[in-house]
């Protein structure tokens, strides 16, 4: 085996009251992808922060090559060729791709930027990654996924031998994932050692050479991927298996709770029509940017869009989210930190936010009622929090999502729209959210679930609606729902579909013969 590029031995890190890492070993070789798996709070990110110089360990040693090193800051790590690409994007949206890639190191002479040199340097890095993105494009015009890839490109401008990718796939859709995987593979071939944090088991299995599993800050095992199966991985991570609950089929005569007619979303070329019955989960599949979130936001009146929406048969006045909420619509946005939570306010305030009226009389909160009701909803969603007065920011991703669910369940909705309900959360919380979705539909709610995780779509949906380029291109129900059919419908490229006849049926590959009905034509 190749000699290790970097070796971490006996790394221990303690925070007040919590041991984040306990004597963990980790090493990375040239030209390998070493995945780090574990639930939220297992210590993956802390370990990678130790490697990136962002966190100083309490005990343990770090060797780069043969040398014992101390990483006091990210700068020290960068000097040794260790780059970390964080989960959050840190790009400057109004600047060009070149400027973003070369941020802080644009070639210059006498106070003038040498633009030609800058562009060609950026081009060289993009070429190295086989990326078909123009270096002169403004960053904000790129998709989230492309921006993520630019982050990686930025790391490569420096002489990076060790690349840490912290959940690079969390916000990507299927097609962008393929590009990411290609990029990672390219770098591996070029001899870069890649540490890869991920919640997606499938990608851990297919992409990595070795896998290290952490649990509660303790190293469970480091294994060659050949010696590992997905089930074994889950067991190592949790001691449990990922389960989607078995749901009973819905009654065909159940009332239609949500009926969307001729909804025109911004940039959409065809109106959106669909309906959801009581007790039904309709999955919205498609690539990131295919317009699913725009549909959800238009339905609840967060964005203006012509069209009609009926809730339980009554026309909804989509003036704003407030009036929609009153009529029983609930929307959990995809980005819980930016659009959902009040991170620096208490869990209690977060849960009460959509049901303040029922918690109050004459505009004043009824304190004991508020507390009891919050507690009730917190336990109904299985929220694990020692103190409901602590900040929402202190919770793990899974528990934050449960806070969002509790907030909306407290508003007693009839239609629940979930936008990426399990993005970036651990397997245990995922199972619990699936269980909750089942309970809610059993009690007669209509659920719309937007998801970029195909496994989730397949496991949870009674019907699947596929969107592409801001319109509905396919709908599947029951036995017609298959991974292949859904994925194909989502990614058939535009040039295969003639503009005059945008039906996938006409030019679609054979796999699409299972499409039951093409909506919106």
């Amino acid at each position: 085996m190749t000699h290790a590029l970097v070796e971490l031995r006996g790394i221990t890190k303690q925070y007040p009251g919590v041991v984040a890492l306990k004597g963990v070993d980790f090493d990375l070789r040239a030209g390998e992808v070493h995945a780090l798996a574990g639930e939220n709070g297992a210590g993956k990110s802390t370990l990678m922060k130790v490697l990136g110089g962002g966190v100083a360990p309490d005990a343990g040693e770090i060797r780069v090559g043969d040398q014992l090193v101390r990483l006091r800051s990210p700068k020290d790590a960068l000097a040794l060729g260790i780059s970390v690409v964080h989960q959050e994007l840190v790009s400057a949206p109004m600047l060009s791709v070149t400027e973003n890639i070369l941020l802080g190191r644009l070639p210059r002479r006498g106070g003038r930027v040498l633009w030609a040199a800058a562009h060609s340097q950026a081009r060289a890095v993009l070429d190295r990654l086989n990326l078909d993105i123009s270096e002169r494009t403004e960053m904000s015009r790129l998709s989230l996924g492309q921006q993520q890839l630019i982050e990686i490109a930025r790391a490569l401008v420096r002489d990076t031998k060790i690349l840490v990718l912290d959940e690079p796939s969390a916000i990507l859709g299927q097609a962008e994932l393929e590009v990411l995987y290609t990029v990672v593979d390219t770098l591996r071939r070029q001899g870069v050692g890649i540490a890869y944090i991920s919640h997606r088991l499938g990608e851990v299995m297919s992409l990595s050479d070795r896998v290290t599993v952490l649990k509660d800050g303790v190293l469970q095992d480091t294994l060659l991927v050949e010696d590992l199966s997905e089930e074994r991985l889950v067991t190592l991570m949790t001691g449990r298996e990922l389960t989607a609950p078995v749901r009973s089929g819905i009654a065909l005569d159940a009332p239609v709770l949500l009926d969307v007619q001729d909804l025109q979303v911004k940039g959409g070329r065809a109106p959106i029509n669909f309906s959801v019955r009581a007790g039904e989960i309709v999955g919205f599949a498609g690539l990131v940017g295919s317009g699913r979130t725009e549909v959800a936001r238009a339905i609840i009146g967060a964005d203006r869009a012509p069209g009609r929406v009926y809730i339980d048969g009554d026309l909804l006045n989509r003036r704003n989210p407030r009036s929609s909420r009153r009529r029983g619509l609930a929307y959990l946005p995809e980005d819980r930190k930016d659009q959902g939570l009040l991170l620096h306010r208490s869990i209690r305030e977060n849960i009460g936010l959509a049901s303040l009226k029922t918690r109050s009389r004459w505009g004043l909160l009824r304190s004991s009622h508020d507390k009891a009701d919050t507690q009730r909803h917190a336990s109904a969603v299985g929220l694990k929090a020692s103190d409901l007065n602590s900040n929402a920011a202190t919770l793990s991703g899974g528990n934050q999502q449960k806070v969002m669910l509790a907030r909306w369940l407290a508003a007693s909705p009839t239609v629940l729209i979930l936008d990426e309900p399990t993005r970036g959360i651990d397997v245990g919380s995922k199972s619990e959210i699936y269980r909750l979705m089942k309970e809610l539909t059993d009690s007669g709610l209509a659920v719309v679930m937007i998801s970029s995780e195909i496994e989730e779509i397949l496991a949870m949906s009674d019907r699947v609606i596929v969107m592409r380029e801001r319109r509905i291109v396919a709908e599947f129900a029951g036995d017609e729902i298959s991974e292949e059919a859904v994925t194909r419908a989502a990614i058939v490229s535009t040039d295969q579909v003639s503009p005059g006849n945008p039906t996938p049926e006409t030019n679609a590959p054979e796999g699409l013969s299972t499409i039951r009905g093409v909506v919106n034509d």
């Binding site: 007040p16 009040l342 936010l353 505009g363 020692s386 907030r407």
Partner: protein, 329 residues
């Protein structure tokens, strides 16, 4: 944490990051209070008459005008806004009341003064929510505008107030407490109840903490934002009445600089300019801290010209301490 055998049940049950909070939140919460206690101890050691009841009440009376303005400012800043026009709105109310209190009597004059404050605040609110003007710019404009009203109304000359009952209110006491201090304390309690225990208060925090989240959760964001500027305007009205009845004259420079004192008291009291964090209790402490400092400097005979150096240092030091010890905000 060491339990490895219990993996079958619940690995996710521990809110791991929940406890690693350090002292940050406590410093934010109690830092200003600690500084106040410290300053009071220093003051009682260096100025022997500092702790006398009369002196304490005097300090309370002195901070009441800025304190009332700061209460309104607290609402505004919690929504991540700012109101630069409170001093100028106060001036408008002072000069207007100086005139009307002699023509229409005390109670109607006070009522009209409050309506004037509310109306100017409403203009701020509408400009910010419907007009889409940034709070800083809108209230900066209002500051100049209101000042202009005051100058036009007085033609630049001070208006003396002769109404005895009105002057009596400003200099008098109820149950031994100076009336302006009493008004401040009552409004303090009302503001505390509203922020802490009302639907509106929760909405104010939500709008400041995450506007988009608040909107998607059905909080009437624009209405809430508009309302905090109205509150700030009403508080400027109250402060203007206190000013006029204490000083007995309506001058067009009455409120100059008060907006900065009010912002200072609010921020020293722990309210974050980024919004979403802050309490009226903190604002009271902030106002008291600045008031005690100025009182101490007076008692010990420090030149009034040098006093600004101390208060400036105090403002920056207090906020630095809070920032250093709070995470991310």
């Amino acid at each position: 944490m060491t339990d490895q055998s219990g993996t079958l049940t619940a690995p996710a049950q521990r809110p791991k990051s929940g406890r690693a909070r350090g002292i940050g939140p406590y410093v934010r919460k109690y830092g200003a209070a600690g500084a106040l206690v410290l300053l009071v101890v220093v003051a009682s050691l260096t100025a022997e008459n500092f702790l006398e009841v009369q002196n304490i009440l005097n300090v309370l009376r002195q901070i009441s005008i800025v304190g009332v303005l700061a209460l309104g400012m607290t609402f505004v800043i919690i929504t991540a806004g700012i109101d630069l026009s409170v001093g100028a709105m106060l001036t408008v109310v002072v000069v207007y009341t100086a005139n009307t209190v002699q023509t229409m009597g005390v109670v109607p004059a006070i009522a009209v003064a409050l309506v004037v404050g509310a109306f100017l605040g409403l203009l701020n609110g509408l400009g910010i929510t419907l007009g889409g003007v940034q709070p800083f710019v809108m209230t900066l404009g209002m500051m100049a505008f209101a000042k202009g009203i005051a100058l036009l109304y007085t033609q630049g000359r001070p208006i003396p107030i002769t109404n005895e009952a009105f002057l009596q209110f400003g200099s008098g006491r109820t149950l031994g407490i100076p009336n302006p201090a009493l008004v401040f304390l009552i409004l303090l309690i009302v503001a505390w109840v509203v922020l802490r225990h009302s639907v509106f208060g929760r909405s104010v925090y939500a709008v400041g903490a995450n506007e988009e989240a608040a909107r998607l959760s059905g909080i009437p964001v624009k209405r809430v934002k508009c309302a905090v500027y109205v509150i700030s305007g009403v508080m400027a009205g109250v402060a203007g009445i206190l000013y006029a009845s204490q000083l007995g004259v309506g001058t067009p420079v009455a409120g100059d600089g008060y907006e900065l004192d009010a912002i200072a008291a609010t921020v020293v009291g722990g309210t974050s300019l980024f919004g979403g964090l802050g309490t009226v209790g903190g604002t009271f402490i902030g106002a008291a801290l600045l008031g005690v400092l100025s009182n101490l400097l007076n008692l010990t005979g420090v030149s009034p010209y040098a006093q600004n150096l101390f208060s400036g240092t105090l403002i920056v030091a207090a906020v630095m301490l809070q920032r250093r010890n709070s995470q991310g905000r």
